[in-house]
């Protein structure tokens, strides 16, 4: 049953001949070279999208909790509902096929940028929701304390609310960061040569789809696990002694 042939990765991608040392050179690449290139695309799409998602998500999450700015709150709510309620794959197609016809200059943007925006904004809606939850989980007194100190709105968010809110939401942020790696597989739908596309293409070329899919799965697991470990490290380093998550009698 388990009749696997891992030598397939050492084959030249044009001739199918085994290459000594498994790695080709120049234009003569092996399927092993190719899988690393594909992994590179997956990692670049995911990390860039994650960066956008964290920045935009934090901004939107914060404006949704601002006091006395109903229009900013509404804008934030609209953003979250719009990007959260449309399936990711549909959003990718909207960015790739629909937006460039509505906004002609977007036609010249490389697909990479469009995918990163789509994936980043989609995830930003989810992160915004978490940031809002983190801020609202803090006792009201913290905001008032900040105000009483004479801080401006920006200052009490920066020095009082956000440092604690981020600590609270590290666990869901970890999930979201791992999700973005897995969601990056939709980039395949708009011709980004990433791992999922590699699996479909090379599985067909080599007639060894099981080995190919297993290798691709392992790379996805490694990527997600690295993010998981980094976030665990951050969580540990950022921990405030005596502060239990949410600050209200937790710790069980």
């Amino acid at each position: 049953m388990l009749n696997m042939d891992w030598q397939v990765f050492c084959q030249d991608t044009l001739t199918g001949d085994a290459v000594a040392g498994c790695l080709g050179s120049g234009r003569d690449i092996t399927y092993l070279n190719w899988i690393f290139t594909a992994w590179g695309w997956t990692v670049s799409v995911s990390l860039t999208a994650l960066l956008i998602a964290l920045l935009v998500g934090s901004l939107i999450g914060v404006i949704r909790t601002l006091p006395d700015s109903p229009w900013l709150v509404r804008l934030g709510n609209a953003w979250v509902e719009m990007f959260r309620n449309v399936p990711l794959l549909v959003q990718i197609f909207l960015w790739y096929h629909v937006m460039p016809t509505l906004v002609p200059p977007m036609r010249d943007l490389p697909p990479f940028v469009l995918v990163v925006l789509a994936l980043g904004f989609f995830t930003s809606a989810r992160i915004a929701e978490q940031v809002r939850a983190g801020i609202q989980a803090l006792p009201k007194g913290q905001r008032y304390a900040g105000m009483a100190m004479g801080f401006t709105t920006f200052q009490y968010y920066r020095y009082v609310l956000l440092p604690m809110a981020y600590r609270i939401i590290i666990p869901p942020l970890t999930s979201e960061s791992m999700n973005i790696f897995k969601n990056s597989s939709v980039a395949f739908a708009v011709s980004i040569p990433e791992l999922t596309q590699y699996a479909m293409q090379v599985g067909e070329e080599t007639s060894r789809p099981i080995e190919i899919y297993l290798a691709v799965t392992v790379l996805y697991v490694i990527s997600a696990l690295v993010i998981n470990r980094i976030m665990a490290f951050v969580e540990k380093r950022a921990r405030v002694p005596g502060f239990v998550v949410a600050g209200t009698g937790g710790g069980h």
Partner: protein, 291 residues
Amino acid sequence: MKKQKQLLVLTALSLARIKSSGVVNLGVRDSSGLAFTIGGGKYVGFHTEMAERIIDDLSKQAGKPLKINYQVITSQNRVPLVQNGTIDFECGSTTNNAARQKDVAFAVTTFVDEVRTAVKTSSGIKSVNDLNGKTVAVTTGTTSVQHLRRHERGANIDFKTVQGKDHADSFLLLESGRADAFVMDGSILAASISKAKNPKDFAIVGEVLSVEPIACMLRKDDPKMKEALDNSIKRQIKDGSLAKLYDKWFMQPIPPNNVALNMPLNESTKAAWATPNDKPAEAYSSKLLAK
């Protein structure tokens, strides 16, 4: 001993099983250029209709009308379904190649698809060499991707490839201008173009990059069944009914849109009909390279 006998019954040759049950399990495709559905459980297309005629011949042999049980298959499940006997044979768009011949058998080749290039007529691209510095679309999960890479190296030209997720997507890349050319099997290109908003804007150009012999697939080690299929196909070639069928499905308007594919019989297919054979794709490519 008894167990062996049971096994023998289980793997009984298709022809004998068909005769005793009066039912043929025919594998059909639902969205290939050669075999597709028009909805409502109706399966049509060049290869589907050819298969129905094969079954007519089988009926004559059996001496009673056989009932056809249409079973939709996909690229992923067709080989296992033939192997385990769920379907007696299938006529769709399966390429006869050496790797598959290890698992299944093929009837004589009835259609040879030529991998070529579709471009916008306004682009001025006439051959593969004109693709230098251009962007070429090709569908993920097809062997054309590899042929294209080989050709790029052989002709020592440099172009960018983008891989569409399916044929419709690849054609959209060409139509929307994200790609300058779409390299794929001729039948797929012709079908895509016929469905475009303005079919006149597109043309199929350039040399044949590779050929794919398409044939009906059946269980391995069932010589009687293979002989029955081969004989029926050879009969259809000889009396000209296969050529008529080709004209009906590739030159005349066809459902569901009543648009003609306008794809005249190519040289490779003519050759395959002149000397019916079940050679795998590999036997063709070596000939192409020698040219």
